[in-house]
Amino acid sequence: MDKEINYTESYFADDRVDGIEKVTGKAKFAAEHPLAEMAYAVFVCSTIPKGAIKNMVLYEARNAPGVLDIIYYLNCPTIPGHRPYDKDPNKKGFEWRGLKVFNDNIIYSNGQPIALVIADTLERAVYAASLVKAEYVTEDFITDFEKGKKDEALLKKAGDYKRGEADAYKTAAVFVEDEYTIPIETHNPMELHATTAVWEGDNKLTVYDKSQGPKGTQAELARNFGLDEKNVRVVTEYVGGAFGSALRSWPHVPAAVIAARKVKRPVKLVLTREQMFTMVGYRPHAWQKIAIGAGKDGKLVGISHHAISNTSTYEDFSEGIVGVSQFLYDCPNVNTSYKLLPLNINTPTWMRGPGPATGCFALECALDDLSYKLNIDPIELRLINYAEVHPASKLPWTSKFLKECYALGKEKIGWHNRAAIPGSLKENGMLVGYGMAGGVFGAGRGQAAAKGILKSDGSLVLQSAVSDMGPGTSTAMVTIGAELMGLPMNKIKFELGDTDLPPGPTQGGSGSTSAVGAAINAVCDSLKQTLKEMAIQQVPAFSTAKPEDVQYKKGMLFFKSDKTISISYTDLLQQSGKPEIEVIKDSARASAEAQKYAMHSFSVHFVKLQVHPVTGVIRLEHIVSTADAGKIITPKPARSQMVGGAVGGIGMALTEEVVIDHHFGRYVNSNFGDYHVPVNADTPIIDVLFADKPDPIINPMGSKGIGEIALVGVAPAIANAVYNATGKRVRELPITPDKLLS
């Protein structure tokens, strides 16, 4: 890669490249592709948590105006992926992961889709769906996490870990030992999950879907319906947020495809907000018990961290909750355990910062408690136990600028104003508290392919089949292309969200910029190489040169030894009669690097807040989020991503909680009026500071990842600030005023 590249001195503005589409309403999301003869599908959902459908009453619905069909388990066509053993009982075919929609009459959870009504207008479909009645055989169920976790027989082991002595914390001079709980939290992106399916003939399918991974959805659908991948096209041009909920295909995706096949028309299926709570995953309910022991000098002696999180009864979902205790701080003795509790609710899934978001709540709050017991400043305590190498694998980090983050945040939040004694600082009758906590998430580089089409009119088209659910992947890719090719950003277009493009990764785990950026890097290198070779072959002045004698800079090719000999690449293409050149490049996964290094992004969040001493109402005043996310490619969207993570963390800390009525096994607050996500008035001043140091190993751009660490650590930072303000430690999220009063 040419050395003239310097991302900090980017001379390009970093307005989002898709900003105009988004502010004018032109951006088309999954449910916004107008198609002739569109039919509308609406789910009917189960109203019991466990049992079986005894009878479905469809007469009225079938005869309602405009109804084209009603699909349910008795008339649903056989789907290869739903019954992988039917054809070939000896061999296991591809089996659809999770709930096989309309496959049988078994009910696993409340809100499970049991029928799909298809009509010629949305209103008619909604009305007809209201006429469908189901009768059930009900069975005993369990939706109560607190009750279930006490029953050992229900728990499934999901992995233990030990290094050094187990429970060594007990031997330490000082230790803390407590339990922490987080409730179910839902992603609830603003765009409702939606799938529009269109069949062209019997074997060709196009799907407009809300998906974080068009290639993944394509593969799932192709195998599920027994089609060739090349005959399944998935389009995800714009994705209205997802935060993990669109990492996999949920039952509505095949349901729309089945419906389109049956009615022989394009079918649009949009979930309702209520269905967004019960059909597309959530962050699981989790209980944790953590104990940390340290010497009087603050040096950690042992950490024991145990967790139980819920899954469904038809699928196991686990995440790395206790993993953070194994490597975030240097500690000789660590033991962890993790178990799953299957409940009669739908399957959870990865939600922003999956694993560490939950784990850091316990770890970072426990460390805070420990700091008061030791009478050591919480930042100091973390510095005392700073992990210079990965404490479990002993591998060096590819890069770690966490100390810089502590320093940046401490200064910005005004940490020196913090009172060491909880509840002792007051301003205008309000209790004032400061808190901090760290976050971490794995970094790396996944596999990706990209195509570049460099045109003689001076424009460049870059392509890869990824999604951009909001972080600004398109903007980052255009920025990388602009820097590498020395072209203005407005000459470059990044095309994405279509499986017809070269395969890109699923957008998740903060990995898009690294993987796709590396592929774009390879594409640009190859384009430059091709141009150099073309110049040598076709321009007489270059004919004696070898490729290494030719330099490419900002659209010009030079002779290295004699800069007066030059040609612009547009002239070169025109001269050689080629309107464009095209290259496709693959960039491999960073597997070899992962053998030699530990790869992580880090964050530290600082919070200043006020608590009303009588009502317990919490008012956030200031959040400072700092991060070591490697080199920052696009400062403006990167900052927004951090801000967004902090806002998500506010919800996790203070308001978000799915409530289940265990008499009926039903969610009672599945709407935005009752499930409280943060609104504008809940949001304080948020400052973002990046260490902004390139990682030398992970990818050519020097970037790591931002999406997850933006949220991981925010909730414990708030909890720690609440403790600092009030002296009350709330270990059960969300921290609502009632918990501060009791």
Partner: protein, 205 residues
């Protein structure tokens, strides 16, 4: 297999009712054209369920025939193909569907289309003047007042109204009067900055 034994006598379906009463009565007096169009029960039902509606959207007058149960939001999105206005909840709880009706911001999911007879609707598609963006749209881009962009049309429509209402005099006031618009991507501080700049700029909105 399918046991539809509950074919109920207690409550006739709406179609059955129509067949027996209104529809038959209407058919008796209908013109031949109508009779031809109403070739089956669904079409008859459809014809009688729709009522005329005149509506101006982004300066264009539409003469429509819509069912009374169609919301303004669904009319815009599904019938007029103005998908810039978003559906986030359909319950008046998120603000994604915010449009201006006669200059006031409303949640279009909470308004039946037919309640807007003769009114003037402005959606996100009606803000820009050709290539020239509305100052609020420009300010949202400049301040990165969004990530995924799904809540954005609603935020922008709300933001313009917020300034016009005189509710954008301070950061706190903006936060309060923009709290009916949820942004799950959490772009709130940037949205406030974008509005503050437009307010200070004082351009006519």
């Amino acid at each position: 297999m399918e046991q539809e034994y509950k074919e109920n006598c207690a409550g006739e379906s709406r179609r059955d009712f129509l067949k027996k009463s209104t529809a038959l009565a209407a058919l008796a007096t209908a013109t031949p054209v109508l009779l031809k169009a109403a070739g089956n029960d669904e079409k008859i039902a459809g014809y009688f369920e729709k009522i005329p509606l005149q509506l101006e959207v982004n300066g264009k007058v539409h003469n429509l025939s819509v069912e009374p149960r169609v919301t303004l939001l669904d009319l815009l999105r599904e019938q007029l193909n103005l998908t810039g206005t978003k559906k986030g909840c359909d319950h008046g709880q998120c603000g994604a569907c915010t449009v201006h009706v006669d200059g006031r911001r409303i949640n279009s999911c909470l308004s039946l289309a037919v309640m807007n007879e003769g009114k003037n609707v402005t959606t996100i598609e009606g803000l820009a003047d050709g290539e020239k963006l509305h100052p609020m749209q420009e300010s949202f881009i400049k301040h990165d007042g969004f990530q995924c962009g799904y809540c954005t049309p609603g935020q922008i429509m709300s933001a313009i109204a917020c300034v016009k209402e005189g509710h954008a005099n301070s950061v706190d006031e903006i936060r309060e009067f923009m709290s009916g618009n949820i942004c799950r991507c959490g772009a709130y501080p940037n949205i406030v900055d974008a509005i503050m700049e437009v307010k200070k700029g004082g351009q006519p909105l």
